[in-house]
């Protein structure tokens, strides 16, 4: 089965089969990452532009490494060094970049839906590296791959996601992907951070307490609290937040024995995640990052028209 899309903008736009294909390709890509010489010629001669309008360490580096391991030429542009500061519109910037004939533009942008906007106007492939509070598909895929590594399946898993759901693109991609794959998602967070109608996004249950959400969970996904971005009116302070919505060794006991703890990073230690948990045996945070490279290799590969690698 081939991958039919020019772009990858949102997991909610992909079918279960397509998500499975991306995950299984990523599983195969991992082998490359464990070699001594971590490079294959698959995308030789392809040009990838990483266009980041928001700061990012993990995602941008991960996409860059993914491109390089597939032998593509990668160029990084961040908003601070681009013409965005000179008042050029997104569309003009994108058209100018396209004139240089890239094959793929990987973009992060603060405005939800910006990738759809560009997709209608550009012919190169567009991969969403995060748009506003909408989606972060590569994160959703790497989260699912990490869960699948541990449990061998996604179907029937109880996944708790705790934190600011309203402002989280990670939560939306996780919900879209996981519920398609048969997981049941439980959400918890202060009502100031719970968007209306979120239970309609899939097999999603909104919980009133953190305990309810993580009770017997197979996976506990903690989201980063960003008070500077999310507005100062949502919670009193991080101290009280961590008391009611932070994960620590005590409340982690509510989850299934051996449950996975995940976090998209960067972690606010002592706020949503105590260091004892972040650095403890149940933490899969670094495994997520590792899988991120393989997942992004799979995404780059499939939008370039690849078919499933069979070895």
């Amino acid at each position: 089965m081939g991958f039919k899309h020019k772009d990858i903008i949102a997991l909610k736009d992909l079918s279960k089969d397509e998500i499975e294909l991306l995950i299984s390709t990523a599983e195969n890509m991992r082998e490359i990452n464990s070699r001594d010489i971590k490079k294959v010629p698959t995308l030789r001669g392809k040009t990838i532009i990483n266009l980041f309008y928001e700061s990012s360490t993990r995602t941008r580096t991960s996409f860059e490494i993914a491109g390089k391991r597939l032998s593509a030429d990668t160029v990084n542009i961040t908003a601070s060094t681009s013409s965005a500061t000179k008042g050029e519109t997104l569309l003009d910037t994108a058209k100018n970049l396209e004139a240089m004939k890239p094959d793929i533009v990987v973009m992060r942008h603060a405005v939800s839906g910006s990738h759809y906007f560009l997709s209608k106007r550009l012919s190169c492939s567009i991969i969403n590296a995060g748009d506003g509070a909408h989606e972060h598909p590569s994160q959703g895929l790497l989260d699912m791959l990490t869960m699948k590594d541990r449990y061998g399946r996604l179907d029937g898993l109880k996944v708790a996601i705790v934190g600011d759901i309203t402002h989280s693109r990670v939560a939306r991609s996780d919900i879209a992907g996981l519920t398609k794959m048969g997981s049941h998602v439980f959400l918890a967070g202060p009502p100031t951070m719970m968007p209306p109608g979120v239970e309609r996004l899939g097999n999603v249950t909104v919980c009133t307490t953190m305990k309810e959400a993580i009770q017997d969970a197979d996976v506990v996904m903690m989201l980063r609290i960003q008070q500077e971005r999310q507005g100062k009116t949502l919670i009193p302070n991080t101290r009280e937040y961590s008391r009611y919505y932070g994960l620590n060794p005590e409340n982690l006991k509510w989850a299934k024995p051996g449950a996975m703890v995940m976090h998209p990073g960067p972690i606010n230690r002592g706020v949503e995640l105590s260091s004892y948990v972040a650095d403890g045996a149940s933490s899969h945070v670094l495994k997520q990052v590792e899988n991120g490279v393989a997942v992004r290799m799979a995404m780059l590969y499939h939008v370039s028209g690849g078919t499933l690698v069979t070895e």
């Binding site: 939800s112 839906g113 910006s114 906007f117 509070a133 909408h134 309203t166 968007p195 209306p196 996004l201």
Partner: protein, 425 residues
């Protein structure tokens, strides 16, 4: 030029008329309504059989962008769009550059409209100087120079004490206040209605409470000061309940809604269509139902477009960056006629809301076909079918969510002061 409009279904709520009649227009005045009228020598005879003849439609809420923002629209193109949409009069909001908070701007608008405009233009002055919400505008002089109301449309008057004083002061000057009811702190950086669709799209929502809370405040201030108030572009179920209750206890409140609030829901934002971005935002199906009920039970007095032209550069951008508003003059009548088809309104009631009531609310001598009145007349072809096409819109801007829609019903003829200013080709 004299006219004999023959054999049309004449609907005039001001006289309780709804029957097939001839109408004679002489020297820009409605001369006579009757059966079997003969055309005097030199008069043009218009065959209106199968057509509907109404008092000229009035859009009491438009943005003509002139002076200062002529790259979006100007008085010439805006009034052409009005004429094409069947409107013989428009009331234009003061958020021009400079703001219409003084006699000079008002006089400019009136003079330019008189010289070059296709239809009547009634300016609305600002409530506060520069619409900055700090000091009252010179409402006396605004009224004297031709403003028919005051409004800081686009911005609410956030200071409640100032709004109270504005209502009191305006009452003394005999000019009505039009409220843009919105609690800005609740709106925050929201870009669409807050609800399931905003959750799915990851766009920041604007809660209905932002409109309802502000509507409640302004209705209470009108009640307290015993002043008339008109609430612009009502879009929520809750605001309508507040207004309905206020009317029942005798508060002098009137209100309008816009065609998009009974034609579209926030579903239209899917795909991040910036032509579905306006303020107040498109609401839910529940609100659409409430708007229709309120049109039916008379809570909503008028249909006005909030015609808000924006240049393509201001719309062909990321959703958050796009400006609020859509053009509406050329789609208002056809969308409103749908209400008749759906059985929400009868034709005479629709004419009330698009001509008679707006005239009454603004206190202008229009909205009637009584002999002796100015011959502002709209002839409607209820069966004309057409497609909304950006290239065919008379407005300078094309920011409509209805592009490509198949429509039924259109203005066949728009007559201002006895002169045909638009004839459907």
């Amino acid at each position: 030029m004299n006219l004999l409009i023959q054999g049309g279904r004449v609907i005039d709520p001001s006289q309780g008329i709804d029957e097939v009649l001839d109408m004679l227009v002489e020297n820009g005045i409605v001369k006579e309504l009757g059966k079997g009228l003969k055309a005097p020598a030199g008069a043009e005879t218009i065959d209106a059989s199968g057509l509907i003849v109404t008092p000229g439609l009035i859009d009491m809420h438009v943005h003509l962008r002139d002076p200062g923002l002529e790259y979006k629209e100007d008085i010439i193109t805006g009034t052409k769009a009005a004429a094409a949409g069947g409107f013989t009069s428009v009331a234009c909001m003061p958020n021009t550059k400079p703001v219409n908070d003084n006699k000079a701007v008002t006089s400019y608008i009136i003079a330019k409209a008189k010289a070059e405009g296709a239809v009547n233009v009634f300016p609305v002055g600002s409530i506060t100087q520069g619409s900055r919400g700090e000091l009252l505008s010179e409402m006396g002089e605004l009224k004297e120079s031709g403003c028919v109301a005051v409004s800081d449309d686009g911005h609410p008057v956030t200071n409640s004490e100032l709004m109270r004083r504005a209502l009191e002061y305006a009452k003394g000057m005999g000019i009505m206040v039009i409220s843009h009811a919105e609690d800005l702190s609740l709106v925050g950086t929201g870009v669409m209605n807050e609800g399931y669709v905003s959750t799915e799209l990851g766009l920041k929502g604007i809660p209905w409470a932002a409109e309802d809370a502000a509507t409640a405040r302004d209705v209470y201030l009108a009640e307290f000061t015993d002043s008339p108030i008109h609430i612009a572009h009502v879009s929520t179920k809750g605001s309508l309940r507040i207004i309905r209750n206020a009317k029942a206890r005798g508060v002098k409140v009137t209100c309008e809604t816009a065609p998009h609030y009974f034609s579209l829901t926030d579903d239209a934002v899917r795909g991040y269509d910036t032509n579905a971005k306006m303020n107040p935002p498109l609401r839910t199906a529940d609100d659409v139902t409430a708007v229709k009920e309120a049109l039916k039970d008379g809570t909503i007095d008028a249909i006005a477009t909030d015609h808000a032209p924006h240049h393509i550069d201001e719309k062909d951008v990321e959703f958050n960056e796009a400006l609020n508003g859509i053009v509406g003059l050329e789609t208002s009548l056809t969308l409103s006629l749908k209400l008749v088809e759906e059985g929400v309104l009868t034709l005479p009631v629709l004419v009330e809301k698009m001509a008679y009531n707006p005239a009454k609310i603004l206190g202008i001598d229009r909205g009637t076909l009584k002999p002796g009145s100015v011959a502002d007349i709209t002839v409607i072809d209820p069966n004309a079918t057409w497609t909304v096409d950006a290239d065919k819109l008379a407005s300078k801007s094309k920011n409509s969510p209805f592009l490509g829609w198949e429509m039924k019903g259109a203005a066949a003829l728009t007559i201002v002061g006895g002169k045909v200013v638009y004839r459907r080709g």
